[in-house]
Symmetry: C3
Subunit: 309 residues, 3 copies
């Protein structure tokens, strides 16, 4: 196990080496008791996390805020609707320089792919990408990996099905890449219209990652360890009809998973892609997954801010 | 005096036994110096209060935030306008499970009666009801009682007039119930259209609480100790004309209270039901009442979170 | 050097004696290491700053929040869009009394000149004016002075050009007044339509302050130490055409300042009055100026809250 975290910014999961990910997953496990308020820390007392949410994001925003505050730090920033009033015509570069003046680390969500990278090049404080359009959302990937590792105590050799919208779903692209690094096998289960992009498949092949594509979940349900479901997002569709046709086609319910040896995960929010009859079963790991966002983000914040000082 | 607070959630004043209320009022008095920054506490350091304000509420929100922060804790959440973006079609149950993952206690305001109870049934962290539609707002009732007790050093035997909108006013229903528990006498003073609901009167009778109804404040002004005024809320009226007719009819001014031996209370915000010529007199207790929200909510937060750990 | 700060409120730079300003600038220098997270303080632990932003203000709001939190304190309040829901028809006086109940100090931004003074007359906690319409914004002036003093180690005898909109620019009126107290010389550089108001000039003359007016920056560029640029705010103009004509006429770029012995300042946000080709030069002090808002506001908060207890 390495002793230090080398990254200055968290922009893309592709910037992580396998040992960087292992370090963060290990740190997260150490921080779980603090995340659950069973232990106390003020390691980041006096430190400020600047939050630039140009797009609304409740889950990611709240879990970063919680993570910072559980370590004794605090947050300043803006979110969503107030973003426009922030700028008064100001450039993204100038807004970022302002936040740099007030913060010990920055977290940014923006609709434009590349926004976080752009900012990390012009400010001296650490920058964390909390989602840049169709681009990356690396801390989501880390908490997904952490959830799997906490359940199985390993990732290598597991069989993971990624189900639903694999075309527009930012989450699954990064996760497939990362699972490949850890020698998991993957099944990509989606309607033909929403298959994993060729580019992502190409990357995986280049890295000798084993995967299989299908449009029928039943073909693979008996052999998988993890059923990772994604929301089919209405707003990604140009056409209401296309959305209606597909919606519900990949519904996960208790009947489907009953008697199987697998867990169900979901980045949330869910609409109706997982039936609530799964909620009170052992298959449900999606609420725990949401909680794991806290220790994982604590691990990131603690180490990236510590590196700066 | 009992030594512990037994409730796991604060949903309705009806869940409180008299000894629970006495415990909180006593605790609030102990915490007043911290509320005034004359003493310091970090008893809730590292603890996070999740704030789910589906309806805007500045006073309640700010006083809960202040209470949590004065005890060394911190808050995460959303309020009002951003609430819709929270859900993206997510169910109230799922949103609550998310907040549970991030928080050591939850506070919720919602337009639907029963929302807080519903949430308390599905999450493991303590839930505090900060107003559920026409339902309950128990911490308002507790701070109202505290204000009276701080003034008279007792509640038993006092004569309290509840004035204004007794039909739609959530505050007065709970307060009448609680005053009954403490053997106060009550006068319900309202226009005929806005009388206390039959159901509330029935409850009071069942508990042998003494009350009297009138539409003329002058009939009772000489015999009361507390004049509790409520805002006649325009938004509760289906009809602008009905509102205009009644508005101002129950105006409290200095002439009315001059020479009387009583205090004036109001849950705030006031519009024009109390004339500002009362503000700088000894009768005015409504601003102090607002402050008392802090020690009372500190007492709730401290004990309900302590019970969890 | 005096040892104490005498002001109870920070409403106008005109309330400051020279020694009060010197005290704050000196304190700010002591607090810089904390502002940069090189040292730690929890001097304001348990203290709450109430933030009443009736108008949106990201820069001022964030730097006050950062300042409070870097000293271990915390903040409650509202900003901009949610302001209307705060009041529900409540008077400014009542809203202020509510905030007084929750806070150890208040900061207010309001569109009406005199709003901060009005509030400071009715509440007992310290009040800080964060901009009242066309009126004052004293902490901006203090951080402007601090930026100059940090650069030149003095203010006396410097030659400062205030450039751009000198008519509507709240910032420059207060700054001119304060620079006069410190015996700086001033050049007021503006189009004829946007000259410094007669009233301000009259004040300066009365105090024997040396100043010079011109509409051509080139006349003075060789002799100045500080080039203080202000945004020409579209929203201040009754007429789009007038705005278009002037916009860009006073553009500062690298060609203009190259080889000169001066620094460029700007209260930010900038739109296009300073070309980005100045950003990576030694002339750029506007980003540092933004940072200096933190130690200066820390100095104000620390001393004004300390005075209260």
């Amino acid at each position: 196990m390495i002793k230090i975290f080398n990254l200055n910014d968290v922009i893309s999961i592709k910037d992580f080496q396998k040992k960087d990910i292992e370090f963060i997953l290990n740190e997260a496990e150490n921080l779980e008791k603090i995340a659950k308020s069973q232990e106390f820390s003020d390691e980041l007392a006096g430190k400020i996390l600047g939050m630039m949410f140009f797009e609304p994001s409740t889950r990611t925003r709240l879990s970063f805020e919680t993570s910072m505050k559980k370590l004794g730090g605090n947050c300043v920033g803006f979110a969503g609707s107030s973003a426009s009033s922030v700028s008064k015509g100001e450039s993204l570069a100038d807004t970022s320089k302002m936040f740099e003046a007030y913060s010990d680390a920055l977290i940014i969500r923006h609709s434009l792919e590349g926004a976080a990278k752009f900012i990390s090049d012009i400010v001296d404080v650490p920058v964390i990408n909390a989602g840049d359009g169709a681009g990356q959302h690396p801390t989501q990937t880390l908490l997904d990996l952490y959830t799997i590792k906490r359940q199985f105590d390993k990732i290598k050799g597991l069989n993971v099905a990624l189900v639903g919208d694999l075309k527009y779903g930012r989450t699954v692209h990064s996760l497939a890449y990362a699972l490949g690094m850890f020698d998991a096998q993957m099944n990509f289960v989606s309607p033909d219209e929403l298959k994993m992009p060729k580019e992502t498949l190409h990357d995986l092949k280049k890295n000798n990652v084993k995967f299989h594509e299908t449009n029928n979940l039943k073909n693979v349900i008996d052999e998988i360890d993890v059923l990772y479901v994604t929301r089919i997002q209405k707003e990604r569709f140009p056409d209401e009809e296309e959305y209606s046709k597909i919606k519900g086609a990949y519904l996960i319910n208790h009947d489907l998973v009953k008697g199987k040896d697998l867990i169900v995960m979901h980045p949330l929010p869910r609409v109706d892609e997982i039936s609530t009859d799964v909620d009170n079963t052992k298959y449900n790991k999606y609420f725990e997954q949401a909680f794991y966002g806290v220790p994982v983000r604590m691990a990131i914040l603690k180490n990236i801010i510590k590196n700066k000082f």
